[in-house]
């Protein structure tokens, strides 16, 4: 069998670290100054998915008639198929009884009975702030749990590396969402948590190999060991990323408009997560001076 060529990943540690740093900084700046585009789940308000049954009605007509209803700030956007729109506004359900019914009646008066409400989501301010809180707690808790798990299974240096990689992924994914003004809703929180799990998974596979090689190859520096380990696990990394991306692409393209945001976040996360397990997690092991001693200490205990 022919020996595979070893790709010198470690040679690019520095340049990619700078690249990541720039990405993270940009993301943070976006998150601070532009912020995230929260959906009704987290901001409160009402969302109505409308299907128009008459092709001649344009989006601006629809926008106009919704603006006439005195609902506050109304946004009307295309959603999936051609005549489907999502209408969002801040006014909440509980203020008025028959609130949705009234909108329907007014709309029939204005544009005629040529539409149907396919979905209505209305979230009060109390619930939305609770949902936001529990979303943040969920992400925080999962990061904490992973940190502890890696700490138990490896040495603390590995734990730091893995967590840094995951933070990197979460921040960049959210930064992208801020940059593109994509909506953050409950399913995005689910996506972020899954990204955390996936990125961790990817990092752990490489770290396992690093640990194994540290034990086996006593005369080689950590710098080279990470490079060998990345190369040894590379085909697995690629295959798993490809199959996961195939599945996600399938959701993104065929899974309907509701899952678009979720699958997009996941696709982004898988790409960034795969990159970070190579270029964030490993350089940190080097910076933290991981050596054979680090591992052998563990063996004694």
């Amino acid at each position: 069998m022919i020996e595979k060529k070893i790709i010198p990943f470690s040679r690019f540690y520095k340049s990619f670290n700078i690249f990541s740093l720039v990405l993270i900084l940009t993301s943070v700046l976006f998150l601070i100054f532009k912020g995230l585009n929260y959906g009704v789940d987290f901001k409160g308000g009402t969302l109505i998915e409308v299907r128009i049954l008459d092709n001649t009605l344009s989006i601006s007509d629809l926008r106009k008639s919704f603006n006439n209803l005195d609902l506050g700030d109304v946004s009307v956007k295309k959603f999936g198929k051609d005549n489907d729109y999502v209408v969002k506004f801040e006014k909440k359900q509980s203020v008025e009884e028959n609130f949705i019914e009234n909108i329907k009646v007014e709309l029939v008066k204005d544009i005629g009975n040529i539409f149907e409400f396919r979905r209505v989501e209305s979230v009060g301010p109390k619930v939305s702030s609770e949902l936001l809180k529990s979303g943040v707690i969920a992400i925080g808790l999962s990061l904490g749990a992973m940190l502890i798990y890696i700490w138990i299974r490896f040495e603390w240096q590995f734990s730091v590396g893995a967590i840094a990689a995951v933070f990197h992924d979460v921040i960049i994914t959210l930064g992208f969402f801020s940059f593109l003004s994509l909506e953050i809703n409950l399913s995005i929180v689910a996506a972020v948590l899954t990204i955390v799990g996936y990125s961790m998974n990817d990092t752990v596979v490489i770290f396992d190999r690093v640990r194994e090689n540290l034990k086996k190859l006593s005369d080689i520096k950590i710098y080279e060991i990470t490079n060998i380990s990345i190369n040894e696990t590379l085909s697995r990394t690629i295959i798993t990323s490809v199959t996961t991306l195939l599945a996600l692409m399938s959701i993104f393209i065929f899974g309907g408009a509701i899952l678009k945001g979720f699958s997009f976040a996941m696709i982004l996360g898988v790409i960034v997560g795969t990159y970070s397990s190579i270029y964030i997690a490993n350089p940190i092991l080097i910076r933290l001076n991981v050596s054979q001693k680090t591992i052998l200490k563990e063996e004694k205990i």
Partner: protein
């Protein structure tokens, strides 16, 4: 790792077949007696309404404080303790004053564990009310405020009552299989599958339905013991007495009727024995007066009493359509809520959007599945085939387990299944790649395969546990459809591990032992 006992093979086979049967039974139309469970479709897939109601307990608290105030006052009076300046402060405290001589007695009456007037909850180590005393010049000011558990007790009993009323109202409308659950201490979750338009039910749930019969007084202005209320259509106002002649509690039935004489829709009602007695007494003495029928602080109508009504039944006229009369009768039959409620979250999905979501979900599942399978065949040939069989058994197991527990499948849940398809091959890939490495240094194929399995084990466990942690946390903290995602993702990891270590390993073992002399196995 490649050795399997006959018994183990049999067990793996039986296990896989049973769960495959469970999952396939979802798609067969015939009912069988042996296994009749199905996966439930979430509201986002079958269409329906999710409503979260919040009970506003503040009127209940005020009511309870007023009751407590009167009973405390009477209690002290009976014990010959002089108390003054009774009042309710900020709608949350009872306050009164007492002189120095009786201070100790009052405090012991309120703070003893055997206190009758301020019950002590052994379980929570606290009284119903917290008692605070402060010196005010020559006398003592005492303040009573609900303790934390006193408040919990109050909230849970009002939630208990409200959920019962909500259930009755939802049942009366006759939606299929509603799901009504407590949430926290003051919330009720109502899930109404298949309901396209929840507006009517929302209106009905939003009504407290507190019905009272009270006399309209002759005076034009408000005075002590009376209040000004407006009619339902907001056109008129009337001053009514605060004394309640009859309340909705005494109603045993209410029905919408067409009144033959006036050709109007009315609501007829029947009273229980106590109610009938009260009603006949009041209508006998009040002939000539106007009796206001008041629902939730609005006068529905105020007919003149022409003659005493003795039979214990009567009718409510008003400007009803048949629909509004039906709804009023329904509200009266199901009883009044202990406190007003508000809808604080609503999610409604139309049935055709649900069907579209199912179609899109299934389509993307099939395409994702086929893509992954093709990729694996191209990459690993015969072992790709093994990985694919593993993947199929994994899917059957996953759906089988969801069926066994009658779990709820949501759209994000389907996404979780697809994601499982993508990530499940990871474990097999890790093993195969490891075997490839082992084969380079080991001539005995069987040992190489064995080592491949052994050496990749801890990596696979670590890698899967991290994802499992994320799924568990999401399942605990997530809500609604997202919980469905966490469920399929989490169960998917477990079935992945089973199918990789039993199904795939078994197939690999059979293949490798048969072909151990082949030059290039993997």
């Amino acid at each position: 790792m490649l050795y399997f006992s006959k018994l183990k093979i049999l067990l793996v086979l039986i296990f896989t077949i049973i769960f495959s049967y469970f999952s396939i039974s979802n798609f067969t139309k015939f009912d069988d007696n042996f296994f009749s469970r199905n996966i439930n479709l979430g509201l986002d897939l079958q269409g329906g309404s999710y409503l979260l109601l919040e009970i506003d307990n503040s009127p209940v608290i005020i009511q309870k404080l007023q009751n407590k105030l009167s009973s405390l006052k009477k209690f002290f009076k009976d014990k010959n303790i002089r108390s003054t300046n009774w009042k309710i402060v900020d709608n949350k405290k009872i306050s009164f004053e007492i002189d120095n001589t009786s201070l100790e007695e009052v405090l012991s009456l309120l703070k003893d564990k055997e206190s009758v007037i301020n019950p002590y909850y052994q379980r929570f180590k606290t009284h119903e009310f917290n008692v605070e005393e402060t010196k005010v010049s020559s006398s003592n000011n005492i303040e009573l405020q609900f303790s934390k558990y006193g408040l919990v007790q109050l909230k849970s009993s009002s939630q208990e009552q409200a959920i019962e009323i909500v259930r009755r109202r939802v049942d009366e409308i006759g939606t299929n299989e509603p799901n009504i659950l407590k949430r926290g201490s003051d919330r009720i979750l109502v899930e109404l599958p298949g309901l396209d338009n929840p507006d009517r039910i929302k209106t009905l749930l939003g009504k407290t339905a507190n019905l009272t019969f009270r006399f309209i007084t002759q005076n034009e202005s408000e005075s002590f013991g009376t209040e000004k209320l407006s009619f339902q259509d907001e056109t008129e106002e009337a001053v009514v007495s605060k004394r309640i002649i009859l309340s909705g509690d005494n109603l045993i039935d209410a029905q919408p009727r067409m009144d033959n004489q006036s050709n109007q829709t009315v609501v007829t009602f029947n009273l229980d024995r106590v109610g009938a007695k009260k009603f006949s007494k009041a209508t006998s003495t009040g002939v000539g007066k106007r009796l206001a029928i008041i629902l939730d602080g609005k006068i529905i109508s105020a007919p003149n009493i022409r003659e005493p009504i003795i039979g214990g039944s009567g009718q409510i006229t008003g400007d009803f359509t048949f629909q509004t009369a039906t709804d009023l009768a329904l509200l009266l039959r199901s009883g009044a809520l202990p406190a007003p409620m508000k809808i604080i979250e609503e999610r409604t999905v139309g049935p055709d959007l649900g069907q579209d979501s199912i179609n899109a979900g299934v389509l993307s599942l099939i395409i994702g599945f086929v893509l992954v399978i093709c990729f694996m065949i191209i990459k690993y040939r015969i072992f790709g085939f093994i990985a694919n069989i593993t993947l199929i058994s994994n899917l059957l197991l996953l759906i089988g387990i969801l069926t066994l527990f009658e779990a709820t499948l949501t759209l994000p849940g389907i996404a979780g299944i697809i994601l499982t398809v993508g990530m499940a091959v990871d474990a097999n890939v890790l093993i195969f790649e490891r075997i490839k490495e082992e084969i380079k240094s080991e001539n005995n194929k069987i040992i190489a395969f064995d080592n491949g399995y052994l050496k990749s084990k801890s990596t696979i466990l670590d890698a899967n546990i991290t994802t499992l942690i994320a799924a568990i946390i999401l399942f605990i903290l997530g809500s609604g459809p997202v919980k469905g995602f966490a469920l399929t993702l989490g169960v998917g990891i477990l079935t992945t591990l089973f199918s990789v270590y039993f199904v795939a390993r078994l197939l690999t073992a059979i293949y490798v032992i048969k072909n151990k002399n082949k030059e290039q196995l993997i």
